[in-house]
Subunit: 508 residues, 2 copies
């Protein structure tokens, strides 16, 4: 018999959840103390809960299994909520352990009392553990829920944590994704009017290769969802375009499509509504078929289809651009990244407007994985880079990060320094919320006046990312040309530990 | 007739809500555009939603009226949630305008879709505005709800914002606080066994002076709640101690009390539960009377009591310590602050462990107001300083800020620089979550092992607050002795605009 906290950590470790991104408070002190009793658990301190939850998101995407996060009551959960939203949208498994007041203390309405269950319930599965005798099984259930592709929260009252009489629970073994009964039923409906719309696990390397064979055999086109949780890319894989983000190009990309086959992706909708623009991007009269729902095995279905109607696929050749000898802009930045990206890199893409050229430029780069902003809640990029680096210590991580979004969870740099993670942060420093300037036009708002413009501008004062990085123990350098950027990135990839490269772009 | 966004801003301004702390996204672009149509609204950009909501909290405490915040869908609300929790706990009026998807877009489950209403409902009043024809009245109702001392959220769908056919609503005039029918009923029960337990509006200067007369006339003691939203202090006011935070000293402070009279404060409870420590601090057998509930007029009740049983009060004399010629520690820091605090300062206190000596030291300093951490959600200090400075441009603001908590919402520095707010940030730089080391003992957890200790340590790498401040355009200086700190604070108070003073304290 152990105390509740010890049973929680032991249950997690036994279920393969052996990393915990933590920002604890008083109600979590027994959990913290128990870390010395269960040394298999690696605890990674973050300076803000949004870093902890985003790191768990990135970890799950790369490791394919959940990390835990340790948060502090309702406000701590609130601080971590946005990146749990991103995890939910990407179906990334995350186990949240959140401390709460002792059972008898709840009714006293102490200052930190709040409706924690409402916050947790709004983003996934939630269980309040009520006795030391059941806490091990409660944790096991939470791990089980998480491995079904969701955020699972265990609310852990302080006295359940500190009381003895607990024992570890046993989490269910993760199930393989279910296979659809007859994946080839659609085989003979596919032709040049078809788009296979790929998301989730249809974007692994093997699934993409199978999809490419289907495309080659039927004439169907391949297209990826706009913000994949994880997508394999590079030379030797099919060069699959993403559905564009802006409504105009998105509608154009799907114009004339006769059949949309969804493979692990929901039907395409506009990210936001705009006056006089349709919310659904499915063309009128287009037939929508579902090959696999999110959570089902896209690989099995695509492989069966390829077996039935496949042919030799067209794959991207190894080809990278030269480093442009020019001042930086978004295109030069993209070419440099494509030119220097190392083999097996993890590219965390929260570049937003500055990254529009990045995706096409890197199609022929060495094989890599791309993680993108699944839920639209900015501030997941740097935390995800932390989690990806912890999950894959043998792979270089490159975070291509918009400047405004970087400021949401910049504290991630400190954890990179403390853990000496091999992360290169490339800040796309254009000094503005550039995406909003475009959106101001898209929504039909009057061309912004001076006061509106001031709300989209990150100048006055300018952010100095080299100083900010230094303040958190990360070396940084500012670059303004293609060759400077290439040199800085090559140095960062060659040296261990984190680096910040502040790429100064034209102001919009 | 105007569009929804214009009606929202016009209604706010007409109701006296003329400051908006904003972090907008696409769904708020019409609100942003409308700022140029209603120039009476001052929009203050923040780089993170927690800064916007904390600034609104600080503004409300100092201005006595709500500011608005502008947030972006569920994730933006999540990012701002913790400081709204603090506002709720301090009964600070805040109007939250949060953009959401257009009405017809909700069912499409776009990436940013989430249960926003659950988040908002968990922290206060919430209304989803459904038509341009009603949006003005909806805003007016939100302002009315906020002025009753709560967080009031208006969910503003994008199309309600962009559609025409709206007109401004009229918010109810704020009501004065209700008076209790017979405040003198308790008069003859008060004696030396009585503690008047003061909170909320019982901590204004006038209410404190009335309370001091009651104390002088009856022998009753005065005590303030542990974390007041706003408390008047300094020479010429009674020196009222606060109920200590740690359970042992708190129980000792109330030992032997026969009668506790609550004036604008809830009955005292422990901030957290601890093994074998009572959750309520009310001594056994102690009678609890309520003079005024939070929200009722403590001033009127105390004035009536003073009229009935008051006598000449004992008030704090003007007396400040000398600047100690010694290396910094928490006591030296407190003496220096007390020695140099300017007349009419706003002292935002999120100093936590480093500030234990601050409160007694400043009793004889020039008159000032103290804002403290009402809801226990760290990261409100720097944002509140932003809001206080916007509310009171003619008063110096001093934020005494723990280092770990500073890192939650450090982006506030950028807004201080942009708006050139007269804020001095004194970072209590002890390189640790020092409060948690104490809590690890309080909860009875085993003396922390090496792995536990690492989760409470902010070193490796050390944070460099001077570099971090420089990165956001704020000048900073590092100090290690009493005279250096005094000099740096005097310079900061004398110069306009924000300053950071990084006070290096002994590591715990």
């Amino acid at each position: 018999m152990v105390n509740g906290a010890q049973a929680v950590i032991r249950t997690l470790v036994d279920a393969g959840v052996d990393v915990c991104f933590a920002n604890p408070g008083t109600s979590e002190m027994h959990f913290v103390a128990a870390l010395d009793d269960v040394p298999e658990m690696r605890a990674v301190l973050t300076l803000f809960e949004g870093v902890a939850t985003g790191a768990a998101d990135g970890f799950a995407r790369m490791a394919g299994r959940p990390a835990a996060t340790l948060l502090h009551l309702g406000p701590g959960f609130g601080n971590g909520w946005a990146n749990l939203h991103n995890a939910r949208r990407g179906r990334a498994p995350v186990v949240v352990v959140v401390g709460d007041h002792a059972l008898a203390h709840k009714r006293l309405d102490a200052p930190l009392e709040s409706d924690l269950d409402a916050l947790a319930g709004a983003v996934g599965w939630v269980r309040r553990s009520l006795t030391p005798g059941t806490v091990g099984d409660d944790v096991a259930d939470a791990v089980g829920a998480a491995t079904r592709g969701q955020v699972a929260t265990l609310v852990l009252p302080a006295d359940v944590s500190w009381s003895s009489g607990a024992s570890p629970g046993v989490a269910p073994r993760p199930r393989a994704r279910p296979q659809v009964p007859d994946p080839t039923a659609l085989a003979h409906t596919l032709d040049a009017g078809t788009v296979l719309f790929l998301g989730g696990d249809a974007l692994t390397a093997d699934a993409l290769l199978a999809a490419a064979r289907v495309a080659a055999g039927t004439g169907a086109r391949l297209m990826a969802e706009t913000f994949p949780a994880r997508m394999a890319r590079g030379a030797g894989l099919p060069d699959v375009p993403k559905l564009p983000y802006p409504p105009g190009p998105a509608l154009a990309a799907l114009e004339g499509v006769r059949q949309l086959v969804l493979v692990g992706a929901p039907a395409p909708v506009a990210f936001f509504a705009y006056p006089d623009v349709p919310g659904s991007f499915v063309p009128e009269g287009c037939r929508v078929d579902v090959l696999t729902e999110p959570g089902e095995s896209a690989l099995a279905a695509l492989a069966a289809l390829a077996e039935a109607v496949g042919a030799d696929p067209v794959l991207a050749e190894a080809a990278v651009p030269a480093v442009p000898d020019a001042p930086l802009d978004a295109r030069v930045l993209a070419d440099v990244v494509a030119a220097v990206l190392p083999e097996r890199a993890v590219l965390v893409d929260e570049s937003l407007t500055s990254g529009f050229a990045l995706f096409p430029a890197t199609a022929g780069s060495p094989r890599h994985d791309v993680l993108s902003l699944t839920g639209g809640a900015i501030g997941d990029g740097l935390p995800m880079a932390v989690g990806a680096a912890v999950a894959c210590p043998d792979r270089p991580v490159l975070a291509v990060q918009a400047d405004g979004s970087a400021m949401y969870t910049l504290q991630a740099l400190w954890t990179m320094a403390r853990e000496q993670l091999d992360v290169t942060v490339l800040v796309c420093d254009n000094g503005a919320y550039a995406i909003l300037a475009g959106e101001l036009e898209n929504v039909g708002a009057a061309a912004g006046g001076e006061r509106a413009g001031r709300l989209l501008d990150l100048g006055s004062p300018s952010l100095d990312f080299v100083a900010l990085a230094a303040g958190m123990g990360v070396p940084g350098v500012r670059v303004t040309t293609g060759p400077e950027l290439a040199g800085a990135l090559r140095t960062a990839f060659a040296e261990p530990g984190p680096h910040v490269v502040d790429a100064v772009l034209p102001r919009p």
